[in-house]
Structures are given as C-alpha cells and as structure tokens.
C-alpha cells in the first residue's frame, strides 16, 4: 500500500514538474521566435538570455526529477 503511494508520488512529482517546465519553456520559446522573426537583427542579443531563461525553467523540472528519483530509490529499502 505505502509502496504504491510512494510510486504514485514519484510519478506525480515528475509529471507536474515536467508539465510546468514544458509550459513555461514553450511560452518563452514562442515569444522569442516571434520577436526574432519580427526583428531578425535581435537574434544575437536574444540568444544568451533565452538560453539562460530556458535553463532556469528546466531547473524546476530537474529538481522534481531528483525528488522522484530519491523517492524511487528509497522505496526499495
């Protein structure tokens, strides 16, 4: 019973984390592409903040991945 709940918690952790990160990243990417297609000269200026923003958003998904991994690891013992 408790093992099932832990497995469910791990799955929910990675699911919600991935959902949030994917939504945020898609919004950022859409805004960036729109800006670059409107003004192609801004490509170089936009590139570094874009990558940084993606990394910051991805960090949340990575944190939830680590939590899910630790939950699954703790389940065996």
């Amino acid at each position: 019973m408790s093992q099932g709940i832990v497995a469910l918690a791990a799955g929910l952790a990675i699911a919600i984390g991935a959902f949030g990160a994917a939504t945020a990243q898609s919004r950022a990417a859409a805004a960036t592409f729109e800006g670059v297609t409107r003004n192609p000269a801004s490509k170089d200026a936009v590139f570094t903040p874009f990558i940084l923003a993606l990394a910051f958003m991805e960090f949340q998904a990575i944190l939830s991945f680590i939590v899910a991994f630790l939950l699954i690891q703790g389940m065996g013992s």
Binding site: L52, F59, I62, F65
Partner: protein
Amino acid sequence: MFLFAKMTDATRNLNVTRFAIIIAMFLVFAISLVLGDSLAIAAASSEAAGDSKSFISFYKLLAKLFSLNTKFVPLLSGLFSVILLAIIALRYKRHVDHVISHGQIEPLGRFSLEVITETICDFMHNLGRDLFHSDNSPYTHLMTALFFFILITNLTGLCPFLPPASGDFSANLGVALVVFCLYNFWGVRTQGFLSYIKHFSGPKVPIPIIGLLLPVLLFVIEIISHGFRPVSLSLRLMGNIFGDHMLVGVFTGMGLWIVPSILLFFGVLVSLVQAFVFSLLSGIYVALAVSSDH
C-alpha cells in the same frame, strides 16, 4: 592579419597555466568533498549511481583494480577528462605556435580539433567581452576553462562504459565551490572588504525606520541566496547529465541501434547547453561581484 589577431586572443584565453591552477583547485575541493562525505544527498546519489547493476563502468573496474574506495570513481572520471583537456590544449598550443612562427595559415579541416577549439575560444571571448566590457579580462579565463572542462566531461559520459564526473553531485559541487570562492575573492579584491559586504544590503533607503530595517532583511536574504548559488549550479548540471545518462541507459535496454542514437544526439545538445549555462552563470556571478556601479 585580423585572423592572426583573433588567434593570439584565443591563445590568451587558453592559457595552460591558468587551466592548471583552476583545475588543481577543483581537484582539491573534490577530494575534500569526497573524503569528507559531508552531504547526505551526495552519498545517496553516488550510491544510487554505483549500485545499479545495469551500468558497467571502467572507472569502477579501475578503482577495484587499485583497491580504491568506490567513492573515488567520479574523481577518476574527472582525472580522465583533465588528461584529455591537457592533450587538446597542448595540441592547440602547438598549432598556434606553428602559425605564429611560420606566419602562414594552412587550411584546416572543417571539424578538426584546432578549428573547434578556436570556435569555442572565440565564442567565449565575445561573451566575456560583453559581460566584463574588457577585451582581455582575467575572468574570461575562468569561463573558458569551465566551459572546456564541463563540455569534455559531459562528452566523455556519452561514450559507453564511461560515466561522467558531472553526473555526480560532489564533483560538481567541487567545481561550483571554486567559482564561489573565486568570485567572492575577486569581489573583495576589486571593491574592498567593507564595501563588498555592504553591497549585500542593497541600496540606501532614505525613509526613517524602514531604512534601518530593510538592509538587515536584505542582508540575510542575500547571504542565503549566495550560499545557495553553488548548490543550484551543481544540482542543475548533475540533474541534467545524470538524467540524460539514465535515459540513454533505459532506451539502450529497449533496442540497441536506432533509438539510443537519437538520444545520443540529444545528449550532445544537453552537454553543450549545460556547459554553456554553467560557464555563463559563473561569469554573471563574477560580473555582479566585480561591478561597482551602485
């Protein structure tokens, strides 16, 4: 002539002695972290990586051969990438020396080692110029060294049986602590100790009671956020690389040929982006600590 000037700039970026100093600092930190075993999560993650039966690791076999503790496995991996880095640096140095002494530039292959190294050096040079407003700042050396080290460590992880050092929390914390110590040291050196401490408490507020309370609050918050910086840097890198490694491992179990090769391409992208993010964030931390525009 323009190309020649660019090349000498790139050589300055790839200063071998600075590489050696920074990487020696990293090794010292990593050894102390691995020996001290100070964080429970480090132990948990390295155990999780070491105990799973599906990964065969040459470093683990090597550690067993010399009867070392398995905690030294990420250290061996880091040493391997340091050796690779030294070979690349020496080859590039020889190429640049040859160009400088002979004064002629022979056409190189498009994906030769020299061209790739030079592209990365040029890229980091431009990035450092944008960040530090100086054409040859010493902080760019740190960024370039970090980029090369992390990139090569990540890329060795894509070869089978060689788990990368950057998939381990304590090894990454070693690198991030080098960045932490260096940017604090540089901040104190350029601004002086008292004004560096003062810049934690934010700008002056000319309101009677809040003006006294707000800096105290900000100081505490800033200290916490600065302390969390190396942890977040290393957690980000560790999570990405370890997750990617696990993904490749899982998909290799499904089929040997097509599916893992797509993921390996994805892994190359992740390695590049994570190395870029790590070095760029360290550069931003250094630039924030060094700038005195308040």
